[in-house]
């Protein structure tokens, strides 16, 4: 059965049933996958699956899960995480309710794919058996005939049975010819080209590449073809054509599917000195092999590491090559079968041994460690040679260890750098800088559990004070990042016990105290900081915020004075008019709204602008705000002639108003002013929102009239009926009526509501 025919029919049926969203996701999933848009794949798969399950369509579930595996395994080579899912899908796709789904065969392919990625050569026989089993069930008219044939041929290539692979592909092409699908043979290009390259029949490989050049327009296919062109051209010695064909590393970096052949092409070009064989290329190889290793793509990781070693040797860096061999050795037990891996490793080691004996000796006539540091240059690999040599002499030197770790980091060997520091600390645990660096490296690599274990172990040991202080710093950083503020606080306190003058820690603690609602404690710390420092700092601003919240005006005054605020009243609460500003509120649902306000003090403001009845009301609220304006952070905006925007931290006094809409034909400025004055008697305010563009027209063909659209803020304590009565009285003689539907609705006055509705319709309000 034709899978795509089924897909199209399913999409038609689903559209008919109104499941448009699901149809859309069904279309987008393969599209994003073949275009290497895997972020989008991750974003949509959970929703698509939930929708498929909600309509109880198991065939569709097979389709979606298969394509997710295509993205995760075939493109991203994520074997470790996805093998359980591949096994689970295989079982799911062969239940009674799914076994007839044409996509079930793809579930077989997904599982085989996992093993092909993990260790293709070690699973050759199993893969051939699986492919045979499937090929026995289908013929050349099935679209999966091509996929399974490619799988069979790839297994043969992995088993180094290249001629057999070519013969098989020819046989399959013949079957396609008989089935009148001869053009489709080019879809088997990948394994075909691979077999030809391995047989060093590069000209034929290039011919085939050209024949199939129009095949596949997806980003993935385009990258694959470009990389193939680069490596075939490189094998043919046409380096000048090969080089521009090879995509930038940044283009392929997000998709491991392209790593292996990219590395092969890059290696050929580097060996021919067409691209530089340097430590930066080393870093790229390291990144790729680390990713493979992490993802459980073990055989490819092994091969890449050996290529990396080979390149290192060729640029005269046998020590880098030695480290590659160590990593390769660690990969061998993870292979399903070693096959030729130990032999390849041994050969590489032999080459390294020769290279090491021929390595020029490094001058080690340094009298002092700082001579070593001075001798360092721009090339991290050269620096490493020097540093490693020097460390033999000064193994305890803390800075030397740090420099070495940094150099490893620069050539892409992050783990080696971390490991070096770990080993260093085993011998010299009293090294606070290394403790901090090591901890931060773990933190950045998101290795949070090892970080905690390390820090707690260090804290239990009798070590220098500085070491313990850095341990507390690391834990504070970790807990703060994870939002565990209560856990962070004791470590800052420990730090401050030892170092009461540590400004950074005290500021940090004050901030955490504020975040956790302990304002008095926060203020104590901030007082201490202000007392400690003659010069002003962020702590003065923080102190003004906390002191304002606590209404401790003298402390606000004190810091304001230090910061150079002028005209602050000398006693009592600070309630001034310091000009206009805008205050941004983050409402309960997280939306942010901005309103005009009067700045009443260094960190306080009173809101002037009414919100619409549909938004939370802040009119007349008094707030404490974050004194760094949102706009100050951006110079481009600061040039604009607009009031600064500050974020509200807390409403200290709610205005207590509710707003309602007043709508209708503008009664004229004089009448409006009278209405405003009358409303003011009840403590209400009125703010006009409309301008000249608000023109109204009655349903007849009369002239347009200027409209009025205003908000009325009514104190929550004011009787609404009184306000309604006032509005009715004041507006009764107007030439055209005004309406205040919100008020009427709230009062439940049905008759009045109907009257106002009629006015609304008549004037098209």
């Amino acid at each position: 059965m034709d899978i795509w025919k089924w897909v199209l029919e399913t999409q038609k049926d689903l559209t008919h049933q109104g499941h448009h969203r699901l149809v859309h996701l069904m279309r987008m999933l393969p599209h994003y996958t073949v275009n290497e848009e895997h972020v989008q794949v991750d974003a949509l798969v959970p929703e698509a699956l939930a929708l498929a399950r909600s309509i109880k369509n198991p065939w569709l579930e097979v389709f979606l899960r298969h394509w997710y595996l295509q993205s995760r395994v075939a493109h991203r080579h994520d074997v470790t995480d996805m093998l359980p899912e591949a096994v689970s899908l295989l079982e799911f796709a062969h239940r009674d309710e799914t076994r007839d789904c044409p996509q079930s065969i793809c579930a077989v392919q997904d599982l085989t794919n996992c093993y092909e990625q993990a260790d293709g050569p070690a699973y050759v026989e199993e893969r051939l058996a699986v492919a045979n089993e499937t090929l026995a069930k289908i013929d050349a008219t099935w679209p999966c005939f091509l996929c399974i044939s490619v799988e069979y041929a790839t297994a043969l290539v992995d088993g180094k049975r290249y001629e057999e692979a070519l013969a098989f592909l020819k046989q399959q092409a013949h079957a396609l010819l008989l089935a009148n699908q001869h053009e489709d043979r080019l879809n088997m290009r990948d394994s075909w080209i691979e077999a030809l390259i391995r047989l060093q029949r590069y000209e034929e490989a290039y011919d085939l590449h050209k024949q199939a050049s129009n095949l596949g327009r997806s980003k993935s296919a385009r990258l694959k073809k470009a990389i193939d062109k680069a490596r075939i051209m490189a094998y043919l010695g046409s380096y000048e054509e090969a080089k521009p064909a090879l995509p930038d590393f940044a283009t392929i970096a997000p998709t491991p599917r392209h790593y292996f052949h990219w590395a092969e092409a890059a290696k050929l070009l580097a060996e021919a000195a067409v691209i530089p064989n340097d430590c930066y290329l080393n870093a790229k190889f390291q990144l790729m092999s680390d990713k493979f290793s992490h993802n459980g793509v073990v055989r490819a990781a092994f091969t890449l590491v050996l290529w990396q070693a080979d390149l290192a040797l060729k640029r005269g860096r046998p020590k880098t090559a030695t480290r590659c061999c160590e990593r390769a050795e660690a990969l061998i037990p993870r292979l399903r079968k070693p096959l030729d891996a130990p032999q390849l490793l041994a050969e590489m080691r032999a080459k390294i041994t020769t290279a090491l004996t021929n390595l020029p000796t490094i001058t080690t006539a340094w009298e002092h460690p700082h001579h070593v540091i001075e001798a360092l240059g721009d090339d991290p690999e050269t620096n490493l040679d020097i540093l490693e040599e020097a460390r033999k002499r000064w193994p305890e030197h803390e800075n030397m260890a740090l420099f070495t770790a940094t150099a490893y980091d620069e050539i892409g060997e992050h783990q080696h750098g971390i490991e070096l520091l770990r080993q260093y600390l085993e011998s010299y645990p009293n090294s606070p800088d290394v403790v901090l660096k090591y901890g931060l490296l773990l933190f950045n690599e998101e290795q949070h559990e090892p970080l905690q274990e390390f820090v707690f172990a260090m804290l239990k040991r009798d070590l220098d004070k500085e070491v313990h202080l850095n341990c507390h710093r690391l834990l504070t950083t970790l807990y703060d990042k994870n939002g565990d503020f209560e856990l962070a606080k004791p470590h800052l306190l420990s730090l401050l016990e030892q170092e009461p003058d540590d400004t950074e820690s005290r500021t940090w603690l004050a901030e955490l105290e504020r975040k956790t609602g302990h304002l008095e404690k926060a203020l104590q710390h901030l007082d201490g900081l202000v007392e400690q420092h003659e010069e002003t700092g962020n702590y003065d601003w923080e102190r003004m915020i906390v002191a304002t919240l606590l209404k401790d005006w003298d402390k606000v005054r004190h810091s304001a004075d230090r910061l150079g605020f002028e005209n602050i009243p000398t006693e009592g609460p600070i309630e001034q008019n310091r000009g206009l500003c805008r205050i941004q509120f983050r409402e309960a649902n997280g939306e942010s709204m901005t309103y005009y306000a009067i700045r009443t003090g260094p960190v306080t403001a009173q809101i002037l602008e009414m919100a619409s009845p549909s938004s939370p009301q802040h009119y007349d609220d008094t707030v404490v705000f974050e004194p760094i304006s949102v706009t100050e952070l951006d110079e481009a905006v600061a040039q604009d002639d607009e009031e600064l925007i500050y974020t509200s931290i807390q409403i200290t006094e709610a205005g207590g108003y509710t707003s309602y809409i007043l709508d209708g034909v503008h009664p004229g400025e004089e009448a409006l002013q009278q209405l405003k004055d009358a409303l003011a008697i009840f403590g209400c305010s009125c703010q006009v929102q409309s301008g000249e563009r608000y023109q109204l027209q009655r349903d007849d063909d009369s002239e347009p009239m200027l409209g009025l659209y205003a908000y009325i803020a009514v104190p929550e304590t004011q009787s609404l009926q009184e306000v309604a009565d006032l509005l009715a009285t004041m507006t009764q003689d107007y030439a055209h009526p005004l309406i205040w539907q919100g008020i009427v609705e709230k009062l439940g006055d049905n008759e009045e509501q109907e009257r106002q509705l009629r006015i609304e319709e008549e004037y098209g309000l």
Binding site: N35, L49, L111, A129, E133
Partner: protein
């Protein structure tokens, strides 16, 4: 008057028709091509002649006659030029001239002969009157019914220039409608510098409004500019109103200029309404070059012009070359920067934009960290407590935690958090989980995936109890293969929860004998290669809440009471969990029976 009958220089009958019909995707392209020829004629006259003239193009529609006339006061053609350029497909003087010229201001656009071909697609008969600036005393009249044959006769001299009359064929009579033509001209020709008048009684050229990026910013007020940008965008956006616009300025890598806009229509997640109209040498080449926009920008439209792009043969598309890629990245950058600017400067627009495109922006933010940082605090994710931004979730869930449900609704963990009024992000909704994860990576906080091992470890905090108590709980509550895990969690009135082990379930399913009948032997070997490595011997875990008064009572009780509490707890937990699975030792009907029997017993006891 002499009339001569000629044959076109392509001696392949029928090819014309095939070529003309297949070269262009839509017949309306004919209008573009003919206006372009007229424009090039004007430019040619300016280059070659010393004449002082004001170039202009007139388009005249006549619905009653079914004709469309395109006339210009450009260079005109001589007798030989008509034969060489007008009647020879693929050849064009313009091309020759364009290769010669260096001056950008005098830009030639087309491929004369090829463009002329398009006229045959929409007409049953074609007439051209022309007088060349080189021989102002001569006039020529060219007529052709089909592209293969034409007649050429001398005619009284006209003012210098050319007048092309299309006698439209039945199917294209719409092209004689002034409104249709106006619509086409404002799109196809709006960048052309030569004024184009439609039916002479219309007093201003249809292309009188230059594109916003060509306006002198120093002389136009920002408000007027903003208005013009929106009007321009409206002309090119087919389906939606533009909500706001973003300029594309040239960079060091690309000279492209243009305008992007955000569509004012709600989109959902992966909706893709991208469109970019591309102008090359002042002429619209492609109305839908959507791939110039990043894949995440499903809610953005735009117009760009770049003379570095290479049109394809039909000039309805551009080649996807290095220039194309540079412009792609230029547009990506302009869009990100533009959105960031709106976020900072145009607060109400920004709010509308967020409201319209929240889901689309969730996906977009994931594609670019700079964009993520602009959007991080403003986008909402769907939660059990309504749509909330991450800061709002942090506030409600305390301590910067984001709980995400990734399975079906109604799981145990979800029930717990609903009871605690803590928002749970619906991880099955588009982009919700990856967005939360990226947020915490960049700004701190923690995502806890409910129903996963790591999530359970955080929600159900394990606690060590004495071996005797552990033993007691195990024997009272668990069956063979199940394991009790003492822990503490909120709310304390929930005594325990049951969580099946997924590895165990998978192992059972794959290793069952009956599977051999369903799955091929070879592939099953591979599947079992995996499951045999799974060590799972525990079918399900009971997380027992030590904070629960019921559990405390269970531990202190003895004899029959203890057994009764245990029976009730077990059946209650199984019922709440709604799992029914023989292989896990969970029998729901048995649980119900035990529950009711124990309740009866307790009632009886009380009576006693």
């Amino acid at each position: 008057m002499t009339t001569t009958l000629f044959k076109t220089q392509v001696n392949l009958g029928g090819l014309m028709e095939v070529l003309s019909k297949n070269l262009y995707s839509t017949p309306t392209v004919a209008i573009r091509e003919l206006v372009q020829n007229a424009h090039d004629s004007c430019v040619r006259r300016r280059i070659e002649s010393q004449d002082d003239f004001e170039p202009m193009i007139n388009i005249i529609t006549d619905q009653t006659k079914g004709t469309l006339v395109i006339e210009d006061n450009g260079a005109g053609l001589t007798h030989d030029e008509i034969i060489n350029y007008l009647a020879t497909v693929g050849s064009g003087y313009t091309r020759f001239l364009r290769d010669q010229q260096a001056n950008d201001d005098e830009m030639m656009i087309g491929y004369f002969g090829l463009g002329f071909l398009s006229a045959y697609v929409v007409s049953k008969r074609l007439e051209v009157w022309t007088t060349s600036y080189q021989e102002p005393e001569n006039g020529w009249h060219f007529t052709s019914n089909k592209a293969e044959r034409y007649s050429l006769e001398d005619a009284p001299p006209q003012p210098t220039g050319m007048r092309v009359v299309l006698h439209l064929s039945e199917s294209f009579l719409d092209l004689a409608d002034a409104f249709v033509i106006e619509h086409l001209l404002t799109r196809y020709c709006s960048l052309l510098p030569v004024p184009i008048y439609l039916n002479s009684h219309w007093d201003e050229p249809v292309n009188h409004q230059p594109p916003p990026w060509r306006l002198d910013k120093a002389t136009v007020s920002p408000i007027i500019l903003k208005k013009q940008c929106l009007e321009f965008a409206k002309r090119f956006e087919n389906s939606f109103e533009p909500l706001c616009t973003i300029p594309i300025a040239p960079t060091k890598d690309s000279n492209a200029m243009g305008l992007l806009w955000v569509q004012d229509a709600s989109t959902y997640g992966t909706s893709d309404h991208r469109n970019i109209t591309v102008f090359v040498r002042n002429m619209l080449v492609s109305p839908d070059e959507r791939h110039l926009l990043p894949v995440w920008a499903g809610f953005v439209g735009g117009v760009i012009e770049s003379d570095d792009l290479t049109p394809t043969a039909s000039r309805e598309d551009v080649q996807k070359d290095g220039t194309y890629e540079k412009i792609q990245s230029q547009i990506n950058e302009a869009l990100i920067e533009g959105l960031a600017n709106i976020a900072r400067k145009e607060l109400s627009t920004w709010r509308r934009l967020l409201k319209r495109h929240n889901e689309g922006l969730l996906g977009a933010a994931l594609c670019d960290d700079r964009l993520f940082k602009v959007l991080a605090n403003d986008l909402k994710v769907p939660t059990s407590e309504g749509d909330l931004t991450v800061p709002a979730i942090f506030e409600r869930s305390h301590h910067h935690k984001i709980y995400v449900s990734i399975g079906e609704e109604g799981s145990y963990e979800e029930v717990i958090f609903r009871a605690l009024m803590t928002p749970i992000v619906s991880g099955i909704r588009y982009a919700a989980l990856p967005f939360c994860q990226r947020y915490t990576e960049l700004f701190g906080g923690k995502v806890i995936k409910l129903g996963t091992q790591s999530g359970n470890a955080i929600v159900f905090k394990r606690e060590k109890i004495s071996d005797a108590d552990q033993q007691k709980l195990q024997s009272l509550l668990a069956q063979t293969g199940q394991k009790v895990i003492p822990s503490r969690f909120q709310p304390s009135h929930l005594p325990m929860v049951l969580i099946p082990d997924r590895d165990y379930q998978l192992k059972q399913r794959v290793e069952a004998d009956e599977v051999d009948r369903r799955i091929g032997a070879a592939v099953l070997t591979l599947a079992r290669d995996y499951t045999k490595k799974l060590q799972s011997e525990i079918s399900a875990y009971f997380y027992v809440n030590l904070d629960s008064p019921l559990i405390q009572r269970l531990l202190s009780a003895t004899g029959e009471t203890q057994q009764q509490i245990a029976n009730l707890l077990r059946s209650f937990t199984l019922m709440m969990g709604r799992h029914h699975d023989d292989k896990l030792g969970i029998d729901l009907s048995e649980a119900l029976a035990t529950f009711s029997e124990t309740i009866l017993q307790l009632i009886e006891d009380k009576k006693v």
